[in-house]
């Protein structure tokens, strides 16, 4: 009946098959009841909606299985990272000689030189600033896009836009669209996981929300620390206590099912308890890094204070990819004294601190994925919600100088997933204010990512509010130049 993905892309997995897939949890009695002949009499229509996360056939063969989004919350500066602008040094603190847009703080129009040194790396010779000595060694695997264009100058709207293609609250995040379109290959984990280290971007949990898509596609937040997933740990002091409760529950549910007749929603709810139970087992196993070798731990920087936090997240991301999680988002780690990458003040210190915390772990992740042969099927995406102005935002004194928000031209990079390594795409003007060459609107980035996962961004729709909604709204082009 509904025009949405659940139905249109249905590769009808039989209910029995699906139930077998989830047959190793608790409450075997409940399962037996569901498999009884009486319970199998439900209609074809209803069996479709039983497992919203089952794997679906994409629109075209997929190049990529999983995506890791390294979201650099706050907006790292393009001309201090991957897009050097010598003119800034020449005209340091001179008034900028171009028309500039309204910015959030609208304070200064003086050019600000980058405090960082650039060097060329790799065979491709891409310049990288001294913020990222480790990532710089991977440039031949990166597709550096210097011409991203977004629509919003304010964090919240920009975060929504980067994740959902709309600056307003309430739209599904990319990860939700992907799990909606493709399902999840992970049997025991959610398809869309966000790893945070104490810092949720402005806009809150809705940045990873399912919007108008069913709740099944919402991002699950994993926190650093003792209790990674809300309500995951059993409260019972002994496993046997929970076990018996679940057994009784299984019997009650069976009798309910007997009395109420076959009903897919009831059955799905019962099976849902099985998945939840398996998550209780799977998540601790996922988080237990004791099996990782010393080499690997060092590669990710787990042995150093600065990099331990983000290194752990990067290593977990790799482990999640191995377990079939579809979309993993890593958030900027919380650094004392720094407001994410949002350096309106203290650009140099702030960017150094954030880079130090993330550079080595990211390089570790890229190298590890590559050596495991996983980089081809995994897309790694790095970037913030916007970039920064080439002009200075001067506070009380010049030492505290920073940069304002700039969505008109900024840099992101992609690695793996069938993107061309060693490519630099697009350009900003001489100051780095506007993207002027091969502009890449965020919608195009989204379209290209979906494409690599086998999805046509114009066909991946959900009927809502009288329209077939898309991640790319009415925009978006696949940028084939970026693809290998």
């Amino acid at each position: 009946m509904s025009r949405n993905q659940i139905d249109t892309l249905a590769t009808t997995v039989s209910r029995r098959e699906w139930l077998f897939r989830s047959a190793n949890g608790f409450g075997g009695l409940a399962l037996l009841a569901m498999l009884s002949d009486a319970a199998l009499g439900s209609t074809a229509q209803s069996s479709r909606s039983v497992d919203p996360l089952r794997v679906r056939t994409p629109h075209h063969p997929a190049r990529v299985k999983s995506v890791i989004f390294l979201f650099m919350d706050g907006g790292p500066s393009q001309m201090d990272t991957f897009d050097p602008k010598p003119r800034l040094t020449q005209e340091h603190l001179q008034p900028i000689s171009m028309k500039t847009p309204t910015t959030v703080f609208n304070i200064s129009n003086k050019v600000l030189a980058s405090p960082f040194q650039f060097k060329q790396y790799g065979e491709c010779g891409a310049p990288v600033s001294d913020l990222f000595p480790h990532v710089a060694t991977c440039v031949d695997d990166l597709t550096i896009v210097r011409s991203l264009v977004a629509d919003h100058s304010e964090h919240t709207a920009a975060n929504y836009f980067m994740h959902t293609g709309s600056g307003f609250q309430g739209r599904p995040s990319v990860g939700s669209w992907l799990t909606y379109g493709l399902g999840s290959e992970s049997r025991n984990l959610p398809g869309f996981i966000v790893l945070e280290n104490g810092l949720i971007p402005p806009g809150g949990a809705d940045v990873f929300g399912n919007g108008f898509l069913p709740a099944s596609y919402q991002g699950t937040l994993f926190r650093a620390g003792k209790h990674p997933v809300a309500d995951l740990e059993p409260a019972e002091s002994a496993p046997e206590l929970q076990r018996r409760k679940l057994d009784l529950l299984g019997r009650l549910n069976r009798s309910a099912l007997d009395r109420l007749g076959p009903n897919t929603q009831l059955e799905a709810t019962i099976a849902n308890y099985e998945l939840a139970f398996r998550m209780q087992v799977e998540v601790p196993d996922l988080l237990d890094l004791s099996g990782e070798s010393e080499t690997i731990r060092k590669l990710y920087g787990l042995d150093e204070d600065d990099t331990e936090e983000f290194g752990r997240s990067c290593l977990l991301a790799r482990r999640m990819v191995q377990r079939g999680v579809r979309f993993i988002e890593l958030l900027t780690p919380l650094r004392k004294g720094q407001d994410r990458w949002d350096q309106h003040r203290n650009l140099e210190e702030g960017h150094r601190t954030n880079a130090r915390a993330t550079d080595k772990p990211i390089a570790g992740l890229l190298k590890d994925l590559k050596s495991l042969g996983m980089l081809d099927e995994t897309l790694v995406l790095w970037g913030g919600e916007f970039g920064r102005t080439p002009t200075a935002q001067i506070g009380k004194n010049i030492e505290e100088v920073g940069r304002d928000h700039n969505p008109h031209g900024f840099t992101m990079w992609l690695a793996g997933g069938g993107f061309k390594g060693g490519l630099t795409h697009g350009a900003t003007d001489e100051y780095g204010y506007y993207a002027v060459e091969n502009r890449v609107p965020v919608h195009d980035l989204h379209a290209t990512i979906l494409h690599q996962l086998g999805l046509d961004h114009e066909k991946l729709t959900f009927h809502y509010s009288g329209r077939d909604m898309r991640l790319t709204d009415v925009h978006g082009n696949v940028i084939r130049d970026l693809l290998a």
Binding site: K99, I200, A215, S216, P234, Q265
Partner: protein
């Protein structure tokens, strides 16, 4: 994306013809080729799109867009024809020849008489790009679309569009004949049964009484039936038993709570603004209560709808149940539930976005129309031209939000009467205190001298010297010290002289210095030769006979600025002429606000001199504050410090600078007040040194020739006071002087100087005053709509607020409007909009509403897209039934309760969930309604049921929301202090809806995001649901509360078990289940005993059983 319908195709042909015609009129072949985007290479298109178009849009479209005639010399640069055709100066480009192109001439800034854009020269790179573009032959891929802009809505044939089923007038159909009349209990059954019989299907057998009771109790109240209610219903064997239950539930106050929540889904109810800081929306909860009351009192729905749009404007406004405030105005609060940006870089756009969201809700919730689709282009499917969108948008653009006091006339009268009494008492006290200043003045010279000498003697040491002095010298010392900071203070000369003396100057030098300083100031000159940036701009000093430029609400601030101060108000620092004071005639009880007109913030800093009490609140939640409001966002707040005297406070305006803002001075505190003296803008962070000229008597005083010593100066003060008092013409300067020469904080503080009799009088009057104060009722504030600057808006071409098309009148959607509708010329037009919406000529509101009610009772609507009755929505499965219900609805004076009765007392609603094989084959999705499907409860109903079953439900109605419980997993900006885990046991509708911190439990169970209308929630299955029910502390706590209750009950175990099943599932357990539960209890108890006391083990076992029942699928499903 869309297959164009016939209207769309027609439109395309139409504009194609236009294009052909245009081409023929331009004979040059070269120009003709320019019209064809197809002949441009990809490279040229890219060049245009990246280098040229953005610059044109950013710099040129505003003047050279569709309104070019008015502002841009007729030249249009938003279309390639315009560029070539040119404006009043002729063609703007000669393709291939930059040297001959006016456009290049203009942007090069060579000719001082022709420099474009006027806001500043483009960058060299941009100019070079344009030159190259002209050299390339001005390749321009823009489609010729101005024909569309000139004739908005051209392709829509309204007459034809009205033939669509949902726009047809409601016609009451005849009742269908059926084969099985025995089944018929309600007229609606005929429609349902006739349809089933047509397909040879039979309705499902009737549900059992238990099932029915649980179903209807959840349906109407969102709560499970209590075991007692189950027993009563089972025991009542009369044919009216079910009808009685329905009536009981409709009369329950919980009915309104349940159905209000359905409504709140439609209006994106939210109590915060989202975005970066998730600021609170004041008074949103009043709207929630308003809706609950409306449902409980069965307010006619047409009336309710009118109030949503114009509750403040409609004739016969509605009062609250107690008659103390205007209830109907609160209906408009929903307009302001949208997101609010913190620091929009483009406030015009964010306003347009806000209106769009308001229209989206208005369209979908009230009319079932996806109106917002017409923002950028004519609606692709429904008969809504963009012009009509902007006609209605004009009405909302003419509407502002306002934090208003809603006191009713009776309430106003009550407040005013008591207020008058207090004023009278205060003037009596004032009369008694009148000798005080005279007494003080007569000894002024001596007291002042004593104080001055004490200060001089102290030098830079501590100020403990004051306390060693007798009154009134002690008060004078404190007073003089405060005066030192204020050049317009009457005693500033004395303190300035003292300072200079301490620095070693002679009296003559000291006097000359302060005389020069004040003389300069009196002339308006700053002694420190001020720079341009340091010039202050006095925005408001309230030195005027009325609050011109401000709107008052409530009675606290009176009708005009005050000059006199009541005897119980602080005098300290009140060397001022005029004040905006919420202290009424000397009472803290009054509430109200002052709202300024809109203005553009002129400078970097705002400085406010104010006094008042401090109630400790922060941000917009402070009850006493002055706020700067920028694009609906209260961005800056200044709260009185509570020190009791006037102080300057300064705020930086970086984000708000050059923005259209307004100020609010608010007193929502029944026990406090705020007094504002001056509001000044400047470019400096320092407090303005001078904001009013020195008193002329003081300047005169300094020019006296006999001032030789401190003593002569203090004598001169005494003379001056005497003179001014005796002067026959009392002017403002003398008034001020008399009031200023008074060292006490409040007039009443000096009452001890009176003789005993008067003193006693003052005490008695003050006591009478405080008992009168207690009689003043509190005012009610709400955030409502207000007509503001009514104006038409222009079409935003392609939704772009920078690309304005023609102006459209304020009126209703033409397809729904009565013939020959009049456009709005006065006021915003909300009243007219309300009338149009509920007009009998508009069939949509009644159809949409009865369908919503139907959907909630039957699981799916007669129209399955409850918010979309347009072409992209679903058609009705039972069109006649829908119209029958709509007719009955209107006949019953739009009574929603009457629709409930009609539906609930039917056989259709009393079917079971049994599906026959034939039905499941023929109609598996139950479109024809052959059974009542099993449904999962909504998030709130699940939480409320948990509370009800555990015995923790607090059934209190109404009031401010309970702060949500926020776990460690909910982080981010704007995170509130966590509320209690149990939410005080209140029903979920009373838990505050904080946009960025919605309850994870609610979200797991498909709670809607408050972004737009949502008439149908999902019912998905996610592991977090199971995790929450198994492990979440709230559920576990409830299981434990239940366990404690069970443990303390004297009943037998089996009786307790039966009671638990009845409470949670609405049915008794089977004998097997009792046995199973008993052995479970035994086993759990033994397990618990390994690590707990016997009591804890027993409690653990009962809690575990309760927990299992709360987790059972039956608990969260209704049949």
């Amino acid at each position: 994306m869309a297959i164009p319908d016939s209207a769309g195709r027609k439109a395309e042909e139409h504009s194609f013809l236009r294009l052909l015609l245009l081409a023929l009129l331009i004979p040059t072949a070269c120009l003709f080729s320019q019209l064809h985007g197809a002949e441009i290479s990809q490279e040229e298109t890219d060049f245009f799109e990246t280098r040229i178009r953005p610059v044109l849009v950013e710099n040129c479209y505003l003047c050279h867009g569709p309104q070019a005639e008015a502002t841009g010399g007729g030249l249009r640069l938003d279309q390639r024809e315009g560029l070539l055709h040119g404006g009043s100066r002729g063609p703007s480009v000669m393709p291939g020849s930059p040297g001959d192109s006016l456009l290049i001439e203009a942007i090069s800034y060579r000719d001082p008489g022709l420099q474009m854009p006027p806001s500043g020269k483009l960058s060299d790179q941009q100019i070079a790009d344009f030159v190259r573009w002209v050299q390339m032959g001005t390749p321009d891929p823009r489609q010729p679309d101005w024909a569309e802009e000139q004739d908005p809505g051209r392709g829509i044939d309204l007459e034809q569009a009205r033939a669509f089923w949902s726009l047809q007038p409601i016609k009451e159909p005849p009742l269908p004949e059926v084969d099985n009349p025995k089944w018929i209990r309600s007229p609606i059954d005929r429609f349902v049964l006739a349809r089933l019989e047509k397909e040879n299907l039979a309705p499902a057998p009737a549900a059992t009484k238990r099932v029915l009771l649980r179903r209807v109790t959840f349906s109407l109240t969102g709560l499970p039936p209590t075991p007692r209610e189950v027993e009563d219903f089972l025991a009542d064997e009369s044919p009216q038993a079910y009808g009685k239950v329905v009536e009981r539930l409709l009369a329950s106050p919980h009915y309104g709570e349940r159905w209000a929540r359905h409504w709140l889904d439609l209006v994106r109810f939210s109590e915060t603004s989202g975005h970066e800081y998730d600021n609170s929306k004041l008074d949103a909860w009043r709207y929630r209560d308003y809706v609950i009351r409306a449902f409980n009192s069965d307010l006619p729905y047409n009336r309710f709808l009118a109030e949503q749009i114009a509750g403040d404007l409609i004739p016969e406004k509605r009062l609250s149940p107690e008659g103390d405030y205007w209830e109907s105005s609160i209906g408009t609060t929903h307009l302001w539930f949208g997101e609010v940006l913190n620091s929009p870089t483009d406030p015009v756009k964010s306003r347009a976005d806000e209106v769009d969201n308001q229209l989206d809700v208005l369209g979908k919730a009230f009319l079932g129309l996806t109106l917002a689709c017409a923002r950028c282009h004519d609606h692709k499917f429904d008969p809504i031209p963009t012009a009509d969108y902007y006609s209605v948008a004009g009405i909302l653009h003419s509407t502002e939000y306002a934090e208003e006091v809603l006191d009713s006339p009776t309430q106003i009268g009550r407040i005013a009467a008591t207020h008058a009494k207090i004023g009278d008492l205060n003037s009596q006290i004032g009369t008694l205190l009148q000798p005080l200043p005279i007494n003080l003045a007569d000894r002024l010279s001596d007291d002042l001298l004593a104080a001055a000498e004490a200060i001089w003697a102290r030098g830079e040491e501590s100020d403990s010297h004051a306390s060693s002095q007798p009154e009134p010298v002690r008060s004078w010392i404190q007073y003089l010290e405060e005066a030192a900071a204020e050049p317009d203070h009457v005693f500033y000369p004395l303190t300035a002289v003292l300072t200079s003396l301490r620095e070693g100057q002679s009296f003559e030098q000291a006097l000359a210095q302060v005389r020069d300083e004040l003389t300069d100031l009196a002339r308006g000159l700053d002694p420190q030769s001020r720079k341009g940036s340091s010039i202050e701009e006095v925005f408001e000093d309230f030195d005027k006979p009325s609050y011109a430029g401000w709107r008052t609400s409530g009675q606290a601030f009176g009708s005009a600025p005050r000059r006199d101060l009541p005897p119980n108000q602080s005098m300290r620092g009140a060397q001022v002429l005029a004040l905006a004071s919420s202290f009424g005639d000397g009472t803290n009880r009054l509430m109200g606000s002052l709202t300024s007109d809109f203005f553009e913030t002129p400078k970097r800093w705002m400085h406010v001199r104010l006094a008042g009490s401090n109630e400790g609140g922060k941000g917009e939640e402070a009850k006493l504050r002055l706020s700067l409001v920028n694009s609906r966002h209260k961005s800056l707040h200044i709260m009185p410090s509570g020190s009791g005297h006037f102080e300057w406070q300064s705020k930086s305006l970086s984000v708000d600078r050059n923005r259209t803002c307004h100020l609010e001075i608010v007193d929502r505190d029944p026990t406090g007040h705020i007094v504002v003296d001056k509001i000044v803008f400047s470019d400096l962070a320092e407090v303005p040194k001078i904001s009013s000229p020195p008193n002329r008597y003081v300047v005169e005083l300094l020019n006296r020739s006999d001032l030789k010593s401190l003593r002569s100066l203090t004598s001169a003060y005494e003379d001056m006071l005497r003179l001014s008092r005796e002067s026959s013409t009392s002017d403002r300067h003398s008034e001020w002087l008399i009031r200023s020469i008074f060292p006490f904080r409040r007039m009443e503080d000096a009452a001890y100087l009176l003789e005993a009799g008067s003193r006693h009088q003052v005490q008695l009057l003050a006591a009478a005053r405080s008992s009168a104060e207690k009689e003043i009722p509190q005012s009610v504030f709400a955030t409502v709509a207000l007509d503001h600057r009514p104006h038409n808006v222009r079409i935003h071409t392609r939704g772009d607020h920078k690309n304005l098309g023609e102006e459209v009148p304020r009126r209703f959607l033409r397809v729904l409007a009565p013939e020959h509708q009049q456009s709005v010329t006065q006021g915003s037009g909300r009243l007219e909009l309300a009338q149009w919406v509920i007009s009998p000529a508009n069939p949509l509101p009644a159809r949409v509403l009865v369908n919503r009610v139907w959907k909630h009772h039957f699981g799916r609507g007669i129209v399955d897209s409850p918010d979309n009755f347009g072409k992209t929505g679903d058609g009705p499965t039972h069109p006649e039934l829908l119209d029958y219900l709509a007719s009955r609805f209107i006949d019953s004076d739009w009574s929603i309760k009457s629709i409930h009765r009609l539906l609930l007392l039917s056989s259709s609603h009393q079917m079971s969930n049994r599906i026959s094989e034939a039905a499941s084959k023929f109609d598996p999705s139950n479109r024809l309604l052959h059974h009542i499907p099993i449904r999962r409860l909504e998030a709130e109903a699940i939480r409320d049921s948990v509370l009800a079953v555990s015995g923790q439900l607090n059934r209190r109605l109404f009031g401010p929301s309970v702060t949500p419980h926020v776990s460690e997993h909910q982080q981010g900006r704007g995170r509130p202090e966590s509320g209690p885990l149990l939410g005080e046991g209140r029903r979920s509708i009373y838990i505050e809806v904080r946009r960025n911190f919605l309850s994870p439990m609610f979200l797991a169970f498909d709670y809607p995001l408050p972004t737009s209308t949502l008439g149908g929630r999902g019912s998905s299955t996610v592991p977090s649901q199971a995790l929450i029910m198994m492990n979440n502390a709230f559920v576990r706590e409830q299981a434990k509360s239940w366990g404690i209750r069970l443990l303390s009950s004297p009943e037998a175990t089996s009786t307790k078990i039966a009671g638990m099943f009845l409470a949670a599932l609405g049915r008794p357990p089977s004998p097997d289940e009792v046995e199973d539960a008993q052995s479970f209890l035994q086993d759990q108890k033994e397990l618990h005993l390994r690590e707990s006391s016997p009591y804890q083990a027993k409690l653990g076992a009962w809690s575990d059983l309760g927990h299992v029942l709360l987790n059972s699928t039956e608990f969260i499903f209704v049949q």
